[in-house]
Symmetry: C2
Subunit: 651 residues, 2 copies
Amino acid sequence: MSSKNATQYHKVEIPPPQPFLKSLKNTLNEILFADDPFRKIRNESKTSKKIKLGLIHVFPILEWARDYKLEYLKSDLISGITIASLAIPQGISYAQLANLPPILGLYSSFVPPLVYAIMGSSRDLAVGTVAVASLLTAAMLGKEVNAVENPKLYLHLAFTATFFAGLMQLCLGLLRLGFVVEILSHAAIVGFMGGAATVVCLQQLKGLLGLRHFTHSTDIVSVLRSIFSQFHMWRWESGVLGCCFLFFLLTTKYISKKRPKLFWISAMSPLVSVIFGSLFVYFIHAQFHGVQIIGELKKGINPPSITHLVFTSHYVTLALKTGIITGVIALAEGIAVGRSFAMYKNYNVDGNKEMIAFGMMNILGSFASCYLTTGPFSRSAVNYNAGCKTAVSNVVMAFAVAITLLFLTPLFFYTPLVVLSSIIITAMLGLIDYEAAINLYKLDKFDFFVCLSAYFGVVFGTIEIGLMLSVGISVMRLLLFVGRPKIYVMGNIQNTEIFRNIEQYPQANTLSGLIILHIDGPIYFANSSYLRDRIGRWIDEEEDKLRKNGEISLQYIILDMSAVGNIDTSGISMLEEVNKIMGRRDLKLVIANPGAEVMKKLSKSKFIESIGKDWIYLTVAEAAAACDFILHTAKPDSPAKVSGIPQLNNV
Amino acid sequence: MSSKNATQYHKVEIPPPQPFLKSLKNTLNEILFADDPFRKIRNESKTSKKIKLGLIHVFPILEWARDYKLEYLKSDLISGITIASLAIPQGISYAQLANLPPILGLYSSFVPPLVYAIMGSSRDLAVGTVAVASLLTAAMLGKEVNAVENPKLYLHLAFTATFFAGLMQLCLGLLRLGFVVEILSHAAIVGFMGGAATVVCLQQLKGLLGLRHFTHSTDIVSVLRSIFSQFHMWRWESGVLGCCFLFFLLTTKYISKKRPKLFWISAMSPLVSVIFGSLFVYFIHAQFHGVQIIGELKKGINPPSITHLVFTSHYVTLALKTGIITGVIALAEGIAVGRSFAMYKNYNVDGNKEMIAFGMMNILGSFASCYLTTGPFSRSAVNYNAGCKTAVSNVVMAFAVAITLLFLTPLFFYTPLVVLSSIIITAMLGLIDYEAAINLYKLDKFDFFVCLSAYFGVVFGTIEIGLMLSVGISVMRLLLFVGRPKIYVMGNIQNTEIFRNIEQYPQANTLSGLIILHIDGPIYFANSSYLRDRIGRWIDEEEDKLRKNGEISLQYIILDMSAVGNIDTSGISMLEEVNKIMGRRDLKLVIANPGAEVMKKLSKSKFIESIGKDWIYLTVAEAAAACDFILHTAKPDSPAKVSGIPQLNNV
């Protein structure tokens, strides 16, 4: 390495002290207001403008409605009608999945989209119910209340759960606790969604095979057992019809996937299936040959349901639990979808604001006979592809659905259930994202493991088990990162003053007589014992090696603290302990580049005094140069003792 | 900054690929065998020697017994008898605290120390029961089984809990899961111990005031209410006697603290108190004047209790829960004590081996009428001060206790309970380590908060609540560190190529046209949204500032990844997203010094291709130099576009 004059050392600074309250405020700010949402409002000087910006902050419609152009309306009309044609059959299907009256699927596509249009900040999100949350509602509520035996209570609990989900979403948004959904990692979501889609497809076998009784469990074992034990009840008519529609739907989907311009083919195909299916049943009276039909749907738009919310019975905890879990799942999907499309079009979606919008739309929805809604990926993608410009497409969809509710519900009388099952299966197959799973395997084995756990947890256990498993394992990974930080030896890259990991840069040279250890993480109670042991082991191994080769014995241990983000009191005790142990082994501990947080705490403790403040260097290069300098100016047979070294002016 | 020739850039290496199984093995090794306990055995070539070293590994007595010298025996005899004189009154007191027959305290000082002498690796640890675990046993078992109404079941459950505690300790040790106790941070232990000591002292008011009925709750409110509601039952004779002994014990403790050489004064004082107290009662018949006495103690050494273990009744889960919680607490104290004294004398204590020793001693103890034992701090400190050399002092203590059990138990008939209360209070006051708490406040506010939570959780709630609170908050801190990593701007330190945090080094200069951001932690799913928002905010703020000052607009964002220990798939997606967003804002993303783990994953993803591999630099200095070079050679009115930059040979 390049030789250095001992007078060039730089001082390590202790950052200026900050009053406790100020630093607490900063920390809370970083946790809750990382994206500084009020920057614009704060920068504005006039109060009237401030109020106006505040209103826009809460109701984004005020901003985009002002600039709304007539040419947008054409695009929004087309996309609105397209998503309505998808929303109607999908809404009915998902309501059936949730064991709720089919009409609820239509109600849920009327009120919530209108609320979102006023409060939401995404231009591409199309509001509606989702399969996974629907199934989860059925699974959770169904455990305690039978939807067939007690449909009224079940329905009211579904509204209550929706209300609680909305309330929770609203609170998370208002309290800026949006980061709670971050606990669902990408890998966990891939596995969880895949598992849920598999389970939902399995549930559809009931409809496809025309079965009337079915297990309430969602795991694959119970479902298959239920299906094969009813082998004699299978209706081939229903099965054949289902396969035909499935083939049609999958083909249209394939075409649209190959040619994104033909998106409308797959968007329209569910409605086409419903129409053809209904006509088919009507003309050949298939309802008498094993093909189950929807039957009568009530005419008229959403009846109020605010008086049906259940807050007193002992089922309220069930509704609360259901609401919270389904609400979080729905939130995660809705926000991810909004963000993805915003990224394509280069605008911003504020997660916390979206939560408030979702919360309001579910609270108001629960007052108007809707159940849990969010921004489903499939519907939003169709909306985006259809060229929507603003949330007006949601308004168009809402009115199209309202017209259906007012005048067209009788047309669904003959719609065969098997068509709905086919629609659900087609939508679900797209959620089993095996390519993403393969990619996870290639990139990160641990993420793949999380994904698999979520998948198998959902498929062989319950949806909740899958969720808990994936969240638990993901969190364990974070703890493991802190608990077992990497610690590696650094070497000098030839002809430079750069020191790097010798595993990553095998050409880097270690220096004789000293070992440089880089700690790759914070020093906390959870890892201080480990770090102490591991540092000890590095020294032992290095000494063994030197002894074998008959080289100069170890004299200095340089700890590179560049990557040590923080240290707690257990960590400081550990460093003091390491320093004492080394002192007894005639080794000198040297610290390189402690960061602001670490330096602040070390300076408050007595650690700096005990190692000597001259032994803290700004860079690894300077620390190594200083040690090297002492090593080679001291006589080889009398190793430089700590007390005897020349004073360096690095302070 | 010093100007650099563009040809000097160094390549960032991708570490050589490792087979999955090998890297998994390495990871597991780091988690479970961080201290490489079998190094000596592995390095040995002969099988016979390997077996010998293996036996020594399991039974450390084989090693030190060989080198045992007669001169050690004198020291061990003195210290053994000293700790026995402390162990007898303390054992009886703590057994009473656990609502167990007093004789159990003596039994527990006979068998377990012998087991530990054979298997333990600490030379200074003195084995015995501890106050906190005793109280915890009483609190947990007492919730479901009343010790007064059903003493037999209560006793058997205590044995069973001890068995389970030992089994868990053994399993943790064998599976090398010793790091589980690391979840108790230093701060949590300070608060928890202080709280437990406060609670134990409060409990002693029962004995001091001669009360016969007392609450089963441990929180301060219930205890004070129980005491003051029985005001008319207070016995002044008992109170006066207690205060006298308390004064005596505290004085002797104070003397020993001031003059460590006089350690024997405080070590002997409990026994002296017991003797004087018993004589006092005997001669003035104080037992008829409100002074409660121990009464009859059975003669003879430990009766077997293996047949009393309860595995079938429905209380087994209670015993299991009690065993696990008390076992972990006992383990944490024992290992910390062993380590502390080992550090003073410069030898090593292997936590996992200690766990096996503790586990065996509790399992065998539970077969021989002992309840939970560990290495209490007070007794071990006396042992150390008395000059013990090896675990023979434990053997001496065990035999001294055995002689007491065989011949001297009748002497304790008249021992007043109030003396035992005084002994406990004196021991407990030493555990309220307010100085450590003040130190925590100075060093680390968060640790202080953890400490306070533990303290108040124990004092106002229950011991379990305090424990859960402190562990929960400590773990939350770890998650918060990962969830909200620091991200700061770096500047150049004049006349060097060193870049540092401009908050810590206010003299560091930022460069115009580029911003250097240092990410101080891993990039995981839990922080990727935050980092994206935060990077965006840094850019917004920087652009606002530049616009105000009319300076050159921002062109480059350099991300210093030196401290990014790892990245997961969510993190990679975030980087890709940031890169896309920046591309649209005409900004160029540059990466500096990605570590081995990060580089490996980035190279497997398409991220490197999308930012261009020429934009990854080995150091911040090189990245900054390259950007600066392009900025100042390109015309100011036509910013260097990504496609138009000169090719740098840094690959």
